[in-house]
């Protein structure tokens, strides 16, 4: 019994240090970042596109719009392909195929982002430049590359969500005379909706946090992008490009950008959590 207490105490000590270590990071980031937001003024910081650190101008609107465009673009591409993949694997292919393919998909989630970025720069960017115009480094390039990167994330969660729908729903629909496709659109997708939405939200969370691949293919221009073919700078790229040499106010502004990202990701996480809880709630009610 005494040993139990000692173990318990050691575990508590470790857990406390781990948690306080993580809390330290959060506090540190906020403590570094928030003061400058207050000093510059929240409206100036979030709603101004004027980012000129050497003049003391810290407005991150163009980067926020950039992150938004690129993330939404990635989500669109990711959703289209991963839904197709998930539906086909779970509904229209031999049983066991999805179990065999899932590890392959997860394998691909492990490829470093610099590799994706590199392949994008060498193949996709010139392709866009030659066939669609513009410098090639663009919102489109970044969206495609990110879309491919978040595909494994969305797909594996989507497959889980689809497989969690009770067979009885599907069998009932077929018994009533629907084709399998009609079952998918009218029953399966509706039933799995919250899980699928959570998958997309988590995919977007990953996309918004991606740095290296985006720096390589997005062009990093300060202007707000006016078209898919225009170059763009995201919040993460901005931090990565400037943090090596930023000091004083500039560095704090980068921390403030970090705070912004932190908040956005937290909101996305809350959304995903709420959405999946809704599904569980509905399930329990039945």
């Amino acid at each position: 019994m005494k040993r139990d207490k000692v173990i318990g105490a050691i575990l508590l000590a470790i857990a406390l240090s781990a948690i306080s270590g993580l809390a330290l990071i959060t506090v540190f980031i906020f403590r570094e970042g928030v003061p400058i937001i207050l000093r510059v003024g929240a409206r100036q910081f979030f709603l101004s596109t004027d980012w000129e650190p050497s003049l003391g101008h810290f407005g991150i609107l163009s980067m926020m719009v950039g992150s938004l465009f690129v993330t939404v673009g990635a989500a669109v591409i990711g959703v289209v392909f991963s839904m197709g993949l998930a539906i086909v694997l779970t509904q229209f292919s031999p049983p066991g195929l999805s179990a065999a393919v899932k590890p392959v998909i997860e394998l691909l989630a492990g490829i470093p982002s610099v590799v994706y970025g590199f392949v994008g720069v060498v193949t996709l960017v010139p392709l866009i430049r030659r066939s669609l115009g513009g410098p090639g480094l663009s919102v489109l390039a970044a969206s495609v590359v990110l879309g491919v990167m978040i595909l494994p994330t969305i797909t594996s969660i989507a497959i889980d969500a689809l497989e969690a729908v009770p067979r009885s729903y599907l069998e009932g629909s077929i018994a009533l005379g629907a084709t399998r496709w009609q079952t998918v659109t009218m029953v399966l997708l509706r039933a799995a909706r919250s899980g699928l939405v959570a998958a997309v939200i988590l995919g977007m969370g990953r996309a918004i946090g991606e740095t290296m691949a985006v720096i390589m293919v997005a062009g990093n221009a300060l202007d707000v992008p006016r078209s898919l073919l225009a170059p763009v700078r995201t919040l993460t790229s901005n931090i990565a490009l400037e943090m090596g040499y930023a000091s004083g106010d500039h560095r704090q502004a980068l921390f403030a950008t970090g705070v912004t990202l932190f908040v956005i990701i937290t909101l996305l996480n809350v959304a995903a959590l709420t959405v999946s809880r809704q599904r569980a709630g509905r399930r329990r009610a039945k």
Partner: protein, 279 residues
């Protein structure tokens, strides 16, 4: 014109198979692109020599060592702490407001972009704690980065162990310590090791955070306080600067093979443990 449901189905399924084919084609293309260009250059000398002329010639041994040290140390530090924390949270505390908050916090931090950890590590470890650009700064930063993930996946794995296991163990007269360590952890091992291997993979692939904390020195690190370059960073620098494309491809190939091997290991481990536990 009404299209029959069967025809619609054929169209839809055909379209989705096409999407699937495109997806796999793209992913195979990416792997093949790197491996085809790079594998021919991956020789034994390449793997065991040091680079010369900024990496234009020579090999990548210091980078392999650097990656090993930075990522390995990160997981070595984070895994025991993370698992211990998960054990404490799920076995030694009662479910309540505090544990939910901690869980939510861990989830959030697991999703925070690595660049922010890099920023923190640079300012805190490298500058404030005066560790400089070193393997130590890099691995501690990465350890913090993967800690939330390890805590969460371990916790999920532990909570998935059926209560009956615990009750049986306690019923047979085991202490809580024995129950936790011999029964619960053993059963949760596949989930826990998956989380750890995933974190190792993430540490190996990390570039931005590492550049700022471990630096980008080309030489073989002689101590934990020396700067070192990881494979991912070396690949990034070689390809960005156009220093040597063949070497860049070769470095990327080594990196990809290492990650694939790691994932295969994780998969095999999971299969083996799942079979053992009989689930």
């Amino acid at each position: 014109m009404r299209v029959s449901p069967v025809a619609t189905q054929r169209l839809a399924v055909g379209f989705m198979w096409m999407l699937t084919a495109i997806t796999f084609a793209v992913l195979v293309f990416i792997l093949a692109f790197i491996l085809v260009h790079g594998l021919p250059h991956v020789t034994w000398t390449f793997l065991t020599q040091s680079p010369t002329s900024m990496g234009r010639e020579g090999g990548i041994f210091p980078m392999i060592l650097g990656t090993f040290l930075v990522a390995g140390l990160a997981v070595l530090v984070a895994a025991p702490i993370g698992v211990a924390t998960a054990v404490y949270l799920s076995e030694y505390t009662r479910e309540g407001r505090l544990t939910s908050v901690i869980r939510f916090g861990a989830d959030c931090l697991a999703g925070v972009p690595s660049i922010i950890f890099g920023l923190f590590g640079f300012v805190f470890f490298a500058i404030a704690l005066r560790m400089g650009l070193s393997v130590l700064s890099g691995s501690l930063t990465l350890a913090l980065m993967v800690l939330p993930t390890i805590i969460r996946t371990s916790e999920e794995a532990i909570r998935a162990v059926p209560n009956s296991y615990r009750e049986v163990s306690l019923g047979l007269g085991g202490t809580r310590f024995q129950t936790v360590f011999y029964v619960v952890l053993r059963s949760a091992l596949p989930g826990i090791s998956t989380g750890i291997v995933l974190s190792l993979g993430r540490s190996i692939s990390e570039t931005a955070a590492v550049m700022l904390t471990a630096g980008s020195a080309l030489r073989l690190p002689k101590s934990l306080f020396d700067s070192s370059r990881t494979l991912a960073l070396h690949f990034y620098l070689l390809s960005r600067e156009g220093i040597s494309m063949p070497n860049a491809y070769a470095t990327a190939s080594v990196l990809i093979i290492a990650i694939l091997a790691l994932n295969l290991l994780a998969y095999a481990l999971m299969r083996r443990f799942a079979v053992k536990v009989g689930r």
